[in-house]
């Protein structure tokens, strides 16, 4: 009987191991595929020309493959989105965790969850039909599809991850800390800012890094509002992100051409960015465990 139980036990172990390996295998396969298909174009174009070239004109007779505009646009766009999204998301989380009455908290939380579930193409569509014309009218520019439009759309997209993770971190602050502070005579707002927030700071940092990861990987929503021309980034100009550079030209590119390989190289650069963000995330998570 015992032997049989043991056999089942090890069989189950085996099944779990295989399932785990599928995940690991998928990650490995994608990484290796990206590296193998991304390296040749970088070799042919030259790393500095590729990364710091200011012009992208892949289909012209004299093709130019410089992706600096895409890299800078992705960085500015993500930074802008986090810059706008963090204060809104963070203060929403403070309000929900500490101040809001339970009924309202429940309502807002479900709204935030719903926001997280909206497909990015819907954000893009609303951006295209509402935001882009609005920017054109408010700022009196010829066309509203711009870096600014992309930043605004992205800042809404990052809100749910920032709010949810900050909220969890703030709720995990031990009640005794706050009660102690209140007993010493500080007001509740003082308590939140002097006690609760510092105690939750690692969790909040995690939230921001998650937001960065969400913003830099977004393609569908930004392709619809950013105009998609390979200009150097400018708030009111049409710009192209790393993600959209890959997706907009991949569909028609001829197989095996340098152009296609260069698109894989862009994907590789994006992949490295995301790896960097993940490493930062792990750093904060580790610190949170220790602290």
């Amino acid at each position: 009987m015992k032997k049989k139980a043991k056999a089942i036990e090890s069989a189950v172990h085996g099944v779990f191991l295989i399932l785990g390996l599928i995940t690991v295998g998928a990650v490995l396969l994608i990484s290796i595929y990206l590296i193998i298909s991304g390296i040749p174009a970088i070799k042919e174009i030259g790393l500095t020309h590729f990364l710091f070239g200011k012009e992208w004109a892949a289909t012209e007779a004299e093709a130019k493959f410089g992706i600096l505009p895409f890299i800078l646009t992705s960085i500015y766009g993500t930074a802008g989105a986090v810059f706008i999204g963090t204060p809104i998301g963070f203060f929403t989380a403070v309000y929900l965790a500490k101040i809001a009455p339970p009924k309202l908290k429940h309502l807002v939380s479900s709204a935030v969850s719903l926001l997280a579930g909206i497909p990015s193409v819907v954000y893009g569509l609303v951006g295209m039909l509402v935001l882009v014309p609005a920017i054109r009218n408010i700022f009196h520019v010829a066309d509203g599809a711009s870096l600014l439009a992309a930043i605004i759309v992205l800042s809404v997209i990052v809100l749910p991850s920032i709010i949810k993770v900050s909220l969890t971190a703030l709720e995990a602050v031990p009640k005794e800390y706050e009660e102690g502070s209140l007993a010493l005579g500080s007001t509740s707002v003082e308590t939140y800012f002097r006690i609760s927030i510092p105690a939750a700071k690692n969790g909040i940092a995690t939230a921001i890094v998650l937001g960065v990861g969400r913003a830099i990987g977004e393609a569908m929503a930004v392709i619809m509002v950013s105009g998609n021309v390979a200009n150097m980034p400018n708030l009111f100009e049409s710009v192209r992100f790393l993600t959209t550079a890959v997706s907009s030209e991949m569909s028609y590119v001829s197989t095996g051409s340098l152009h296609q390989q260069a698109l894989f190289s862009i994907a590789l650069v994006l992949f490295l960015f995301i790896m960097l963000i993940n490493a930062t995330l792990n750093f904060f998570l580790k610190k949170k465990k220790e602290g």
Partner: protein, 269 residues
């Protein structure tokens, strides 16, 4: 690790071989090679033909008109696809062209824009950034917003080659679908864009070019200028083998008309 790489290599090589143009040997194959712009229409025809005739393999190699024409001349494929008429030196090589369809490209503006007609040179100047205000072409005072398609798009390729603006267009937006171009032009009173004639909707206004409106008739008789033929290229003196000939006949048949129209172009006959 090595194993994964080797499997990958095998898959890639296999895919490459499959995608290649296979004219020789097997009787039941139709190999086409050429214009990337014709992908949609020839793909639709090939798919329809394959499903009607089981056992037939249809292949299409998107290499570009020039390469496709060379491929027929060298016998590397059955039917070449070209999105321009054959040049004299190409017909001299013993090649024959059959116009399959006409690809008309409409120039679209916002319905609120009073401009109704633009000639082809002015369109080129607008896209090159030499004319930047609508009042210079008879419209209201407002900066022109030129909207285009992404690099590699067949419509962009057609538009730029007909207007002579290849690689020098100054786009304000490069969008990756016709639908996006139409939506954007419909939402911006100062935008100008281009799209296949068959896809134009009421939300935008197609201007007349040199006084001619883009309709099926004006495209067919050649009076509407922003258009190009989609041509099937075959050898003049040698007959096609059985299956390619049947496919060729199918492409020009009454039945294929609906498929061609659905692919967004005007059937030639």
């Amino acid at each position: 690790m090595k194993k994964i790489i080797s499997i990958l290599t095998v898959v890639v090589v296999f895919a490459c071989v499959l995608a290649g143009c296979s004219a020789n040997g097997n009787e039941k194959t139709v190999g086409t090679d050429g214009s990337t712009s014709m992908e949609k229409v020839i793909g639709a025809l090939g798919e329809a033909y394959e499903s009607d005739n089981s056992g037939v393999t249809f292949t299409y190699n998107p290499t570009g008109s020039g390469t496709g024409i060379t491929a027929v001349a060298e016998g590397r494929c059955d039917i070449g696809l070209s999105s321009r008429k054959l040049k004299d030196e190409e017909t001299a090589k013993g090649l024959k062209e059959t116009v399959l369809a006409y690809d008309g490209i409409a120039v679209i503006i916002n319905p609120s824009n009073p401009v109704a007609d633009i000639d082809i040179e002015t369109i080129a100047k607008i896209y090159k950034g030499e004319i930047t205000n609508w009042k210079d072409v008879g419209g209201n005072d407002g900066e022109i917003v030129p909207i285009g398609r992404e690099a590699n798009s067949g419509t962009r390729d057609g538009f730029e080659s007909i207007t002579g603006t290849e690689d020098i267009c100054k786009y304000r937006q490069e969008l990756s679908s016709t639908g996006d171009v139409i939506t954007t032009v419909a939402n911006n009173p100062n935008a100008i864009g281009y799209a296949s004639v068959a896809t134009v909707k009421d939300s935008v206004k197609a201007v007349t070019v040199n006084g001619i409106a883009p309709t099926e008739e004006t495209i067919k008789d050649g009076s509407y200028k922003i258009q190009r033929p989609f041509v099937l290229v075959t050898k003049d003196n040698t007959a096609l083998s059985e299956t390619p000939q049947k496919f060729y006949d199918f492409c020009l048949s009454e039945e294929a008309k609906g498929i061609i129209t659905k692919a967004g172009v005007v059937p030639a006959n």
